[in-house]
């Protein structure tokens, strides 16, 4: 394969991919622009630049309450889903057992399911049970969709886990808990950590499931939707922009953390 042709092809692939990245982020840039105006409706070029909507948004008790609700949901979802998904992933990827292949497919089903329909189904189910809806029911609703995703994320790590490591540790006299703490957890940690990131962010950004299951509590995406439909203000692009930056910060930061962690672990073993 001629180098020139390969370079040319790689150049094309790079160009195309960067164009797709630009395509993905262009709306976010537009939102950022729309948040930087003092007028309510967006016209471009912007005539009245200003940060007043940022100030209003950050000073609003309403928004603080929404953040609290969204964060409570996301944190609960993160903790519970990582615990369930860790066992789920061990069953998914580590152990050979009869019925595993069916189990794997069942785990995938909720991911392959329109979320708005799932949200409605949960609403009907809660209704049939006579449960009160609140952010707690939303936690449960999020779990139904997020646990399978996190299970997949952790499974990928579990696939590359060598069970002989645990056996070697037992053999060297470690207790079950020590093996779990010293071997299993650290080795699976990058997967667990990515799972946590995903759980948190997917819960944070979820709209279709929250819409039907939060009851009187409102999450940020629900609030944004309500505002967009009726009371649009540039507070919508402000929150949208904060959201994008937050997600980028968490993900890139988390990735950096994993890199750093891996490197320092290799450093340890060299010493």
């Amino acid at each position: 394969m001629e180098a020139k042709q390969t370079n040319w092809r790689n150049g094309l692939v790079w160009t195309w991919s960067l164009a797709v990245v630009a395509f993905l982020y262009l709306p976010s840039v537009c939102l950022l622009l729309a948040s930087l105006t003092d007028s309510r409706y967006f016209t471009f070029p912007i005539t009245k630049w200003g940060l007043s909507w940022w100030a209003k948004t950050f000073n609003s008790l309403e928004i603080h309450a929404l953040f609290k609700t969204s964060i409570s949901i996301a944190l609960c979802v993160t903790v519970i889903s990582v615990v369930i998904a860790l066992f789920g992933a061990l069953a998914f990827a580590r152990y050979e057992w009869k019925g595993r292949s069916i189990y794997q497919k069942i785990v995938l089903l909720p991911i392959f399911f329109p979320q708005s329909v799932l949200g409605l189904a949960l609403l009907l189910w809660f209704n049939a049970l006579g449960l009160d809806l609140s952010w707690k029911s939303a936690v449960f609703a999020h779990l139904v969709w997020i646990v399978p995703v996190v299970t997949l994320v952790i499974s990928i790590q579990v696939y590359s886990f060598d069970p002989a490591l645990e056996e070697a540790a037992y053999d060297l006299g470690a207790t079950r808990w020590q093996v779990f703490r010293e071997v299993t957890l650290p080795v699976l940690f990058p997967g667990i950590f990515s799972g946590m990131l995903f759980a948190f962010l997917l819960s944070w950004g979820n709209f279709p499931l929250s819409l039907f299951t939060t009851g009187a509590d409102t999450t940020i995406p629900e609030y944004l939707y309500a505002k967009m439909v009726a009371g649009y203000t540039p507070g919508v692009p402000v929150l949208g922009t904060v959201n994008t930056f937050g997600a980028a910060f968490l993900l890139l930061g988390g990735y950096g953390l994993i890199l750093w962690w891996r490197r320092s672990r290799i450093g340890d073993s060299k010493e």
Partner: protein, 386 residues
């Protein structure tokens, strides 16, 4: 040996998981008999859920106030029907629902007439007690408090179509084939049904015959086929300002005011001079009524809040909440009225408010609404993609 150890460890792992799951499910019904003196849940139209209105109340009472805004009455009432009377304390919907639907269905409970009625005294003349929509059929029970109101027919960009032309031509704007592709429809199912009835030439609030249903079907198809865009308020205003459309159906002060407040005085809610409605009127208006939900564990703050928003300063805030701007019943009170600036009065078309209200009939429940809605949605589907 190895196998047995592994098994026991796995068992411990799995018990932990079960516990977590149980905690997740168990938490759902935990608040059955919680103390509700410090919490208030409001199901409302956009505006009451805004920070300007709620934050001061939160500060003064130290309460947790949750408000969810929806943009149509039937859905809110549905949520109560579906069992959410346990959740909400206040519900804010348009005028006829409390008297005609929610009270008979026991979804709301009456207010203490003695303590609340004095507030009506200070309102604009049309709301003086006993105001019809605030009372039940027997005329004994007070069902809710009024506050925001406004005419609601259609909105035009007066740079493209003058106010006079729009008022004179009336609903035929939407029958005029030359206007195809020049207008939008603010997506609001029940209001869309009203307006299509009126465009078809009959009164939506009266029982009707086969011929009118046929006319409705035909009109619905035509109106949706010729619309450039169907969408929410933000979309309509953005499209009007940008020049994507010249006018849109279903709108008035409520939807046009944010654009007007932003300096776009050419965006104006129009009430036609005449039409097929009761008394030859051409417009429809709305009045919001806020009622206490028939919650078995109603928060004591519900009534507090109703009184709170009657305060002149708060009433002004409600009128100019974050999203949309509207006249409020308390504007008859000079203490309240003086808070409105000229720009604010311009935003809510105060200059023509009286005459426009006079040209409008009040929002009402449509007989055979379900049937018409189904016809309309079906028409919408059939012409979609065109």
């Amino acid at each position: 040996m190895m196998e047995r150890r592994t098994s026991r460890r796995s068992f411990m792992q799995q018990s932990a998981g079960l516990a977590a799951l149980a905690a997740g499910v168990g938490g759902l019904s935990a608040r059955a008999f919680a103390d509700r003196s410090k919490e208030l849940n409001i199901l409302c139209w956009e505006g009451y859920n805004s920070a300007q209105v709620l934050d001061p109340f939160r500060e003064s009472t130290g309460a947790t106030v949750k408000a969810e805004s929806l943009t149509n009455d039937p859905t809110m009432i549905d949520r109560l029907r579906a069992g959410e009377t346990k959740v909400w304390d206040l519900i804010n919907v348009n005028n006829p629902w409390a008297r005609k639907v929610m009270f008979p269905e026991k979804l709301i409970k009456p207010l203490d007439r003695a303590s609340m009625e004095p507030y009506f005294e200070k309102m604009l003349p049309m709301f003086k007690p006993p105001y019809k929509w605030a009372m039940d059929d027997s005329g004994k029970e007070l069902l809710g408090m009024c506050q925001r109101f406004g005419p609601y027919s259609y909105v035009v960009n007066t740079d493209k179509i003058s106010r006079k032309t729009a008022e004179d031509q009336g609903w035929d704007l939407f029958n005029d084939a030359a206007n195809a592709g020049k207008y939008g429809i603010l997506d609001s199912a029940d209001w869309n049904v009203f307006n299509i009835c009126v465009i078809a030439g009959f009164d939506p609030f009266k029982p009707r015959g086969e011929a009118e249903v046929a006319k409705f079907t035909e009109t619905a198809k035509k109106v949706f086929k010729n619309a450039k865009v169907v969408g929410d308020i933000a979309t309509m205003n953005q499209a009007l300002i940008a020049g994507e459309i010249d006018f849109h159906m279903t709108g008035g002060t409520y939807s046009a005011s944010p654009a007007r407040a932003d300096g776009h005085q050419n965006i104006r809610g129009i009430t036609p001079l005449k039409g097929p409605l009761e008394g030859g009127k051409g417009g429809i208006s709305w009045i919001e009524v806020t009622s206490t939900v028939n919650n078995p564990d109603l928060s004591p703050l519900a009534v507090e809040f109703l009184k709170h928003v009657q305060d002149p300063a708060v009433a002004h805030t409600v009128a100019f909440a974050e999203g949309t701007f509207n006249p409020v019943a308390q504007m008859a009170n000079p203490d309240c009225f003086k808070l409105f600036t000229k720009d604010e009065l311009d935003a809510i078309q105060w200059d023509s408010l009286d005459e426009e209200m006079a040209r409008s009939v009040e929002y009402d429940v449509v007989p055979d609404y379900d049937k018409l809605l189904e016809i309309m949605n079906s028409a919408k589907r059939e012409v979609s993609g065109g």
